[in-house]
């Protein structure tokens, strides 16, 4: 009997309890989702800590691609979670209509925690996805809201695991075989097929987007927010127009101020060009998950610090011509400031910096988020 089956209205009971809704499928999808959210949470915390470092936190300068990898993983695991979450919810959907809806106070709490879990998970995935596409249809401030709700999501996952642990144990321990209990022909595609479908969904979503950070996937990532192209071969996050610096940055009378314990010096672009130049291959790695490698040339930050009497133990603040917005300045920790590869760059890929890449001069340091690689630098302060 392998031909057509009759459409049954209402659905057969096994269509609500069958392979698609089996706890073995739900538990395995849940495990994958838990791992993806776990990686996403940890890499997100890392990115948060780099941008707002607590006193105990240091972030290494090597490998130079470290932040590129952690933040690429953050966005990739987030996107991979989208088909996983939808598949997982499909498996447990009939449970939404459990009767009676509430059996006890504990049951009510459990259901409320699931609501919080699903809501927080949707919030994180949707807000993250729209943020990388620069689409802001909401009123809240993305970084603080995305960060706050992440804790709720992960807390709710732990509560959910605690509640479901006996079921999870039983379900993960049970064989995935299809033959013995539910004849596949009655209940539709098997458990394995549904898991394979979810896996294919994850692979497709990753392939369609990961090219924004994985160069060899660029051509297949048809839904990636960026192709990796841009002025001088590097994408731009905030243009000079958006930052409102077109006039001030192209003013020929531009002078860079460098302030330290011994002196405040004022340097023209010609002065900067006359200092010893260093070439470094470093990625620009955006918090939004895209990244691109490039060759930068400019003055070592360390040389500028020394020139005004600063020491290698001091943090350094970079202040931009960009006056509006949160990212008009950044603090480069001493560990990075004294690094051989941390540059006040004047050139990108063999040409004078494009205005959109921070002309006349911009910070580029190893293993740092793009928002902290301050562009259009007008003042550098060695912090006491």
């Amino acid at each position: 009997m392998t031909g057509r089956r009759r459409l049954s209205i209402p659905p057969h009971e096994e269509e609500l309890t069958g392979p698609l809704h089996d706890e073995r499928v739900a538990a395995r999808l849940g495990l994958a989702l838990g791992i993806a959210f776990g990686i996403c949470f940890i890499t997100g915390l890392v990115s948060h800590a780099i941008q707002q470092p607590p006193w105990w936190f240091t972030w290494p300068t090597r490998p130079v691609n470290l932040y590129r990898v952690t933040q690429g993983l953050h966005v990739i695991t987030g996107i991979a979670s989208i088909p996983l979450l939808l598949a997982k919810l499909a498996t447990v959907y009939p449970r939404l209509f459990t009767w009676p809806p509430v059996r006890s106070a504990a049951h009510a709490l459990e259901r409320a925690s699931v609501l919080v879990l699903v809501g927080a998970a949707f919030f994180e995935l949707i807000s993250g996805l729209l943020n990388i596409a620069h689409w802001y249809p909401w009123a809240f401030f993305f970084p603080t809201a995305h960060y706050a709700v992440a804790w709720i999501a992960v807390g709710a996952i732990l509560v959910h695991i605690a509640v479901k642990l006996p079921v999870i144990r039983r379900a993960l321990g049970a064989p995935m075989g299809d033959s013995e209990d539910t004849p596949a022909s009655d209940a539709g595609p098997s458990r394995r097929i549904f898991l394979a479908a979810a896996g294919a969904g994850v692979v497709a979503a990753i392939l369609a987007t990961a090219g924004a950070t994985v160069p060899w996937l660029r051509r297949v990532s048809v839904l990636a927010v960026r192709t990796g192209e841009g002025p001088q071969g590097v994408p731009v996050n905030k243009s000079a127009v958006a930052a409102g610096v077109v006039d001030s940055a192209s003013d020929p009378s531009f002078r860079l101020e460098v302030a330290g314990p011994d002196a405040v010096v004022t340097l023209s672009l010609a002065d900067l060009r006359a200092m010893p130049q260093t070439v470094a291959d470093l990625p620009i790695a955006c918090v939004e998950g895209w990244s691109a490698s490039a060759t930068w040339r400019g003055v070592r930050v360390r040389d500028l610090v020394t020139r005004v009497g600063g020491s290698p133990e001091q943090d350094v603040r970079f202040i931009s011509l960009q006056e509006s917005g949160l990212y008009g300045q950044s603090v480069l920790p001493a560990l990075h400031a004294r690094d051989d590869l941390s540059l006040l760059a004047l050139e990108l890929n063999g040409e004078e910096l494009d205005l959109d890449h921070g002309f006349p001069c911009r910070l580029i340091a190893p293993s740092r988020p793009g928002v902290l690689q301050t562009k259009w630098v007008r003042r550098i302060e060695v912090i006491a």
């Binding site: 949707f122 709720i152 479908a197 497709a204 048809v222 960026r226």
Partner: protein, 138 residues
């Protein structure tokens, strides 16, 4: 409840409380809440019944050999559609930054969907041939 489960539960509640406090302290909860609850409502009331309805229709109407490829294609297309929704209208594009959203997402999305459906059709035909030949043997 075992000690391990109790600890897990307590840690989970603590993290949720911390997150809730962060929402209240650093955000306007009234701006955040609709984006937490709205998607759940939309999913539970609209998206899930729609998708599960399609699964149920496919289960009832498609021949056996087409069911697995159709289910895989449905899940893949669903995931791609969710991801594409953020870029296909290029709502975040800015005239001053051509390096952002710099693809033809309509073509890319339709191409990815067509590829998925094409592969599902091929898998269906292969399944069908296998089903028919095995039936001939028995």
């Amino acid at each position: 409840m075992s000690v391990g489960r109790s600890i897990l539960m307590a840690v989970g509640v603590a993290l949720m409380t911390f997150g809730g406090w962060l929402v209240i302290a650093n955000n306007n909860p009234l701006q955040v809440a609709p984006w937490v609850l709205g998607p759940v409502l939309l999913h539970d009331a609209l998206l899930a019944p729609l998708i599960l309805g399609v699964v149920w229709l496919g289960h009832g109407l498609l021949p056996r050999y087409a069911q697995a490829p159709a289910l895989v294609a449905l899940v893949v297309c669903g995931g791609l559609t969710a991801v594409a929704a953020s870029v296909i209208t290029r709502a975040g594009a800015r005239p001053d930054n051509p390096s952002l959203l710099d693809r033809n997402y309509v073509v890319g999305y339709l191409g990815a969907i067509a590829l998925t459906v094409g592969l599902a059709v091929i898998a269906t035909l292969l399944n069908r041939r296998r089903t028919l030949s095995s039936r001939r043997v028995t």
